[in-house]
Symmetry: C2
Subunit: 334 residues, 2 copies
């Protein structure tokens, strides 16, 4: 545990650096700590020895190291109270009753991007506990049909079906009725097996033509099961900090955001404490050594997903954690 003065010193350096992005010299902290610059230098070099601070060159001021940020986040930082203005903006989203849950989540994270200038990411897991409410088919022309699947949580997915063989609408209706009869109420990831073992045998008894239809539906369901939402909300403001004053660095970051693997890896990052907001500073995450990823999982009614914010290591940790907590709570309370 650090002495109270060292704690205060680290706090001042981290917070000052987060604001200004400039190395902090000993002199600038004299008044705040009411002691001379020499004393501060001594303390600074101790903190550096411990690995909490770094210098950009031999005679520069100090900058927080990764470990320094970590210590700050773990032991010093207090979650910031959100401003009324910020809360207001978010509440207009949460209070909007005609938004579907997934839209609420996406829109609220858009607001967070706007409020923080960091990139927000929503990774929506395909909703496990959704049960089929209804299946419907609407004909477009002789060969094309729209299959629509609706779940009890309000998810609607549709897909075009192309059926080469000429099939009568009445026949299709029959198959749809059959499917509806058997799978309404079935959780979405059990639909495939239920189709295979309960519905297919019945169809098998009928004409072979219907097998085509069955296959089309089967494809629609597996498609729906496997679909997942990913929404990345970049903001070019994030790149305005002096740490990105280099075209190559910007390009490096942009490439990562374009890389779907990279985005999905954010979701997979280990996550011990369920239900909390986790912070991955620099090399702590697989994303990028110069960036911080902060994320939380939400879960409501069996619908699960991950909310993440990505920004420079020099991040407003207090504000960001407060925001994510707030969003998570509001989503789960819905």
């Amino acid at each position: 545990m650090l002495s109270s003065r060292r704690t205060e010193l680290l706090k001042l350096i981290v917070e000052d650096y987060i604001k200004t992005a400039r190395p902090i010299g000993s002199k600038s902290l004299c008044t705040a700590l009411s002691c001379s610059s020499a004393t501060i230098r001594n303390e600074m070099s101790e903190l550096e020895e411990m690995g909490l601070l770094e210098k950009t060159h031999t005679s520069s001021g100090r900058v927080p190291s990764e470990k320094g940020y970590r210590y700050y986040v773990d032991h010093i930082m207090k979650p910031k109270e959100l401003t009324g203005e910020d809360v207001l903006k978010l509440q207009t989203i949460f209070r909007n009753n005609s938004l579907m849950l997934s839209d609420t989540i996406i829109k609220s994270m858009e607001i967070v991007s706007e409020l923080t200038n960091y990139t927000s990411i929503v990774l929506g897991k395909s909703s496990k506990n959704n049960r089929i409410s209804k299946v419907e088919v609407v004909p477009l022309d002789k060969n094309n049909f729209i299959a629509i699947v609706i779940t009890d949580k309000g998810y609607v997915k549709h897909k075009k079906m192309f059926i080469k063989e000429k099939i009568d609408i009445v026949e299709i209706k029959q198959v749809v009725d059959l499917i509806n009869k058997h799978i309404i109420g079935t959780p979405i990831d059990e639909v495939s097996s239920k189709l295979e073992y309960e519905v297919k045998p019945i169809i098998g008894e009928e004409i072979k033509q219907k097998e085509v239809l069955y296959n089309a539906f089967y494809n629609v369901f597996t498609d729906i099961k496997n679909s997942s939402n990913v929404k990345v909300n970049r903001t070019s403001n994030m790149l305005k900090g002096p740490e990105f004053n280099d075209a190559d660095k910007i390009r490096k970051i942009l490439e990562k955001f374009e890389n779907k693997d990279m985005i999905h890896r954010i979701e997979e990052e280990e996550d011990d404490e369920e239900g909390s907001v986790r912070i991955y500073i620099g090399s702590e995450s697989e994303f990028d050594d110069d960036m911080t990823v902060i994320k939380t999982k939400y879960s409501i009614d069996g619908e699960e997903g991950t909310l993440a914010l990505v920004g420079p290591k020099r991040m407003q940790y207090d504000k960001v954690t407060a925001l994510l907590h707030y969003i998570k709570e509001n989503i789960e309370r819905k």
Copy 2:
């Protein structure tokens, strides 16, 4: 009209510059034009006088001016034959029968982004000629319902309806049946007025409660009418050229892509010749003086939209025009 040698010279300079991004000196063109560097210099200074070439500084090689690119595009360039590989990639999209038209368009433009490294933009106008095929409501709980609207072209839109008052499902069914009875076959932008003048009077006769329901539907339809698709497909590769070796320039461009107004302005750019691919070089478009916008409109079955590519002025004009023509044709042939 330029002399054939000057035409050839301009062509060489433009194409070389597009490849290398470096000012072209007179010496490097001697062999290609089989004359001495001095002759080329004389011709070059003529072309500069005409405003087709520029120098970056007094003793630098020549670079095409905006007017130079324009002349190249209008009089010199021949649309490039697409490579078999590129065609193949696109064909896998166009041949996929289970993609809806809008997805086909978006996916094909994603491929174009990939093939060219420029940013592709799809601006889908809400499809005027779509007619309502069916309206459906599925209850979620006491207060929430999903309204689903399906058009004859295969568009499916859904929206959550929140109805505070307690309403019986049977009543809802009645209203839905009524709406279906009156608006099936109605073009989507006439639905609102038809609802107002044909459906509302009938509902008016009934209990007042149903007015709530009517309003909910009315909102759903106006929502659907006004929705439009915008898909921007950025690629960080575009920023790899040396013209973007400056962090501020990158930021400027990124901001433009984040700005929805800016994107929509691309659609509004004047467009005389219907049905062709138009090129806006630098200041010719409102987008950005350092960028070229190239776009075309598509129209099929009353569904309209704009396809655009945005890249540096130093753009592979021949390949890009060929690609856009190809995409447009394939979409419209669908």
